[in-house]
């Protein structure tokens, strides 16, 4: 009774048992997201060390989730943070609210606000998840909760061993990150 059909189904299951394992043992082994991945933000600096953010609050205005809080202040000759007149005195992103849509990055006129591929954003309290300017600024390292030993490339074709313990991650983004929204050219 219906044995051939059952055997046919069993064949699928048994051949799949011997195929390469598809799962990865996160968090020891991780897969790096693609470069466009919208993860945790960073606030960039100019090459001379001044902050790019001018405290204009455009990112806060564009945010559909009201996750960003900016208070701008005037630069003074003794206390200079950014090249223009103003800088962000308080800058906070609330990761309990953020939906990682990327509209703030599009809104920022000075390319100060960028997104990294970091997605491990957990914390023990609500306060901990409101990131301040000190945490978001580009030279603050991103500390992981758990060391990574091996990392896959985005398409899972290459495997890299991580040597330095895998707890700290450089927040700096590759040069070519910011896509020009109006090139109008096809990619191929």
């Amino acid at each position: 009774m219906a044995l051939p059909e059952i055997l046919n189904g069993m064949k699928v299951v048994i051949t799949n048992v011997f195929k390469r394992k598809e799962t990865i043992s996160y968090p020891e082994v991780r897969r790096q997201p693609y470069p466009r991945f919208k993860g945790r933000h960073i606030l960039d600096r100019h090459p001379d060390g001044l902050e790019k953010c001018i405290g204009c609050e455009l990112c806060a205005g564009a945010c559909p989730a009201d996750a960003i809080y900016v208070v701008g202040a005037e630069n003074t000759p003794e206390n200079r943070f950014s090249p223009g007149e103003r800088y962000a005195q308080i800058y906070q992103i609330n990761y309990l609210r953020c939906i990682f849509c990327g509209l703030c990055v599009e809104a920022c006129p000075t390319e100060a606000l960028l997104m990294t591929t970091e997605f491990e954003l957990s914390g023990d309290s609500r306060d901990e998840l409101i990131y301040t300017k000190e945490q978001l600024i580009v030279d603050a390292p991103i500390i992981r909760h758990w060391p990574a030993k091996t990392e896959y490339s985005p398409d899972r074709s290459e495997k890299v061993k991580i040597k330095d313990g895998g707890m700290v991650r450089d927040a700096r983004y590759p040069e070519n990150f910011l896509p020009d929204t109006r090139t109008g050219k096809g990619s191929e």
Partner: protein
């Protein structure tokens, strides 16, 4: 402890639940609440079942447990950022929500989408149809006791989600299709990734068929179960695979074409039985047809703009921002207010994996939607569930729910 049936019935009515019960024969019938937290209801769906022993006499879906007021929320956003809200409605098919909404807004604005933008939309939509059907396949199998179906379906879905991540930056709720085109052009190296997916899928779909299509247990539990006729589908406004499996040959991609769909050749699979198995075969064939469309998209991908470059809609480029003060002012205006949309109303419908997904958008001439209403196919198709399960067994109800494939995020919005 034994409370009499009468006491339970009275308590039930006193608690205000009487309205859900169609007829209440206190001696024979039993009222069972299935859900709202039940693994087989595919979300927070509550079903009030009236049972006569094992037979379902009536079934009342109770919805609203996931209501988050997304339609209303859209009114607080501007036309562009409302995309981040609509994409969250039917979360297994985010691109279709965005696509329907974008077409409605484009109609109001009276703008065109460049050819490349339209092709990218088709590319991403058809991949989304496959990834959504894979979730259905996994859960349908799982509910019938075939747990490997779940593993295999999610394994292939993962490959497609990786492609979304590569293109849109997110795996779900992508915020990618926007009024006027798409957010960003396809990244370098997209072609081999899609070709890899297209090479992989036909073999894998054949594997699924080997696994289930002729399996006697699966046949026993799906053939002749949860039937619905074409007439009933028409009366209940059921669309999508459920209607096609009952013999209604209707697919918006072919019959009311939008975007670039007229450029592609594909068949619309139908069946006549209207049972769970017919829906299974229709969805399986739909995945194959999507692969066929995708092959044509990859071959025919045109060059050019990926979105409408009208400066009224699109902020100035980064290089312009650094050069000209006007550009900065214009950018500031677009970001803080958004663009205005002429007063009027528009309805646009797309063929989502679950049926007709319609978006009705009303503008009062301002920068924010006056009203956005979404006709979500899961919501409408859920009406067909009581018809399907009437006089069937409780165990068959599970098969029917899985074959309706409701997404509660879309039902409750």
């Amino acid at each position: 402890m034994s409370r009499s049936a009468d006491a339970i019935a009275e308590a039930f009515e006193a608690a205000g639940h009487g309205a859900y019960v169609e007829s209440f024969d206190r001696d024979e019938r039993m009222i069972i609440n299935m859900g709202p937290v039940h693994p087989a209801t595919h979300g927070v769906l509550r079903l009030v079942l009236e049972l006569d022993a094992e037979t379902v006499v009536s079934c009342r879906p109770v919805i609203g447990y996931l209501h988050t007021g997304m339609e209303k929320e859209c009114e607080d956003q501007n036309w562009r950022s409302a995309i981040t809200i609509v994409t969250r409605m039917d979360y297994l098919a985010p691109f279709f929500n965005e696509h329907g909404y974008s077409i409605a807004v484009e109609e109001l604005l009276g703008i065109e989408v460049p050819k490349r933008g339209q092709y990218i939309r088709v590319l991403i939509s058809e991949l989304n149809r496959i990834s959504s059907h894979l979730v259905w396949f996994g859960t349908q199998g799982l509910d019938m006791g075939a747990i490997s179906a779940m593993f295999y379906g999610f394994r292939e879905r993962e490959v497609i989600l990786d492609f979304y991540e590569m293109v849109t930056g997110l795996r779900m709720n992508n915020n990618y299709v926007i009024p006027g085109g798409v957010w960003e052009d396809l990244p370098d190296g997209w072609r081999p990734v899609v070709e890899n997916i297209l090479g992989l899928l036909p073999g894998r779909i054949q594997e699924y068929e080997d696994l289930l299509s002729e399996n006697p247990v699966f046949l026993e539990r799906t053939k002749g179960i949860g039937t619905i006729t074409a007439d009933e589908c028409g009366t209940l406004s059921t669309t999508g695979p459920i209607a096609r499996a009952a013999g209604i040959d209707w697919d918006l991609r072919r019959d009311m074409p939008y975007g670039a769909y007229p450029d592609f050749e594909f068949d619309v699979p139908t069946a006549t039985e209207g049972d769970v198995y017919a829906r299974y075969t229709v969805r399986m064939e739909e995945m194959r047809q999507s692969v066929r469309i995708l092959g044509q998209v990859v071959d025919g991908m045109p060059d050019g703009d990926y979105k409408n470059m009208d400066p009224k809609l699109t902020p100035p480029s980064r290089s312009e921002l650094n050069r000209s003060m006007e550009a900065v002012i214009h950018h500031f205006k677009l970001v803080t207010q958004g663009y205005t949309v002429p007063a009027g109303e528009a309805y646009a419908a797309v063929e989502s994996p679950r049926g007709e997904l319609g978006v009705y958008a009303v503008s009062d001439g301002g920068t924010a939607p006056y009203r956005v209403h979404v006709r979500d196919p899961s919501f409408v198709n859920l009406q067909a569930l009581p018809v399907m399960v009437r006089d069937g067994l409780v165990a068959d109800l599970i098969a029917s729910i899985a074959s309706v494939d409701p997404v509660l995020g879309g039902v409750d919005r």
